[in-house]
Subunit: 143 residues, 4 copies
């Protein structure tokens, strides 16, 4: 998966959903900035809040016996995040397939893009087997 | 729980089990040293290896339907750990009760104590209910 | 340090400062609940927000050349936290000494205490040397 | 960056360097498998050990005033990792440019590929400014 898949590095105003994440001290590393693995957690927080905003909290998804494990991830780190930065994270649903879907993200601080990313998620049932993407998610597919 | 419960801050030679943990870059924070929460993971690594050395890997414990969640934890941070430090972690079983047990730990780098800690663990069954401490663990109880 | 140091396990209403932390999926472990090390990060978040509420954001503390590394920590885990739980974390300044101070915490979900904890912090300068507790912090000392 | 950049999903025998990483309990999440962000730390561990094997420990790199922050990362998750799995991580230096370089990785458990990944690293000096890739790294460039 190429990150963004051709999506222009847009500003946050082009995202249907934006949430805020504060950089924690625990997220930083000895370079004095947020460790690169911390960003994946910020994306996850945005994804969870995005699903909530769509009326499908991830707790409901899981209670229905589904999980959306990350199958692929691509991220570009554009500017470092520092302790206590208040990052805004935009998330948008990308292509939705029979048993997977993509999400795209942009993280920005004070209007400056700090990272752009894409995740592709499998849709799996209780035993980890691929399962049909739920209808509510298919209906949200762009285009 | 008072950390160590009166146990003198001994050197590693008084521990029946010692393992090594390398400080990862991801473990550090913007102070340039290992984040204080990272130490809990080092204790966990030592605990898991200690159980393995006792012939009871934690995967077997879990396969038998048991878990040993941390019920109490106390830790003293004595010296900072730095990226790439090779810490030696001593672990020893402390008091064993009907449905819980204690472990004590000492972390050292190059012979210098960096932290001492104690954890108290509940013994729980599949539903999270307190369960009888397994016999093999009771037999290992000191004194 | 004994956790709470005799402080009764009070409800959150007895804390001068309370903040909220959402349990992230990344915080959970294979027991299906928040990993015990995640709680230390929740305490840190509460501490950072508490300092901000006192007019002394930790970024200012650090910009002034100070750090408050954790020197001791004690925590009791009372009830598991689950993914997406919205925990309320109360924090209160405890004893303030010449070059260290204590903070006490209570985490609760839906009014049910989930953990109580205490941290003792050293006050250090740029080189990690113990330094005099700043006056603004001494003035906030209880009793 | 497309992960692997056309590199075939080879087996570990095609990697010049392979190290081992044990999946920790703290690395798992409520799906019962290693959280997807944990893999980034495994890649980092492999990278650090790979540099050490090349005679250039990352502590030396940093002591020389350099850092290799991750600028881009792509990863494909192929099979879940479980608690206590002993993962083998292969790492290989990819394209080396004037002020950046790429590394490719394969994680496998019991010979089964679990993830493949690529990271692109900037070479920066003490102030975070792009800096010339050190000669020893340029000499290691493939082809």
């Amino acid at each position: 998966m190429r990150e963004g898949e051709g999506r222009p590095l847009a500003d946050l105003s082009s995202y249907p959903f934006v949430t805020e994440v504060r950089v924690r001290f625990a997220d930083t590393d000895a370079m004095g900035v947020a460790h690169h693995a911390s960003y994946l957690v910020y994306l996850e927080v945005a994804r969870v809040e995005y699903l909530r905003s769509l009326g499908h909290p991830y707790t409901d998804v899981r209670a229905a016996g589904l999980d959306f494990p990350v199958a692929e991830l691509a991220i570009r780190y554009l500017r470092p995040l520092r302790f206590d930065d208040l990052a805004r994270v935009g998330a948008v649903l990308g292509e939705v397939r029979a048993a997977s879907f993509r999400m795209d993200y942009l993280l920005a601080v004070d209007g400056e893009p700090c990272a752009s990313a894409s995740t592709r998620h499998a849709v799996v049932g209780p035993t980890g087997r691929p399962t049909r993407t739920p209808d509510w998610l298919r209906r949200l597919a762009p285009g």
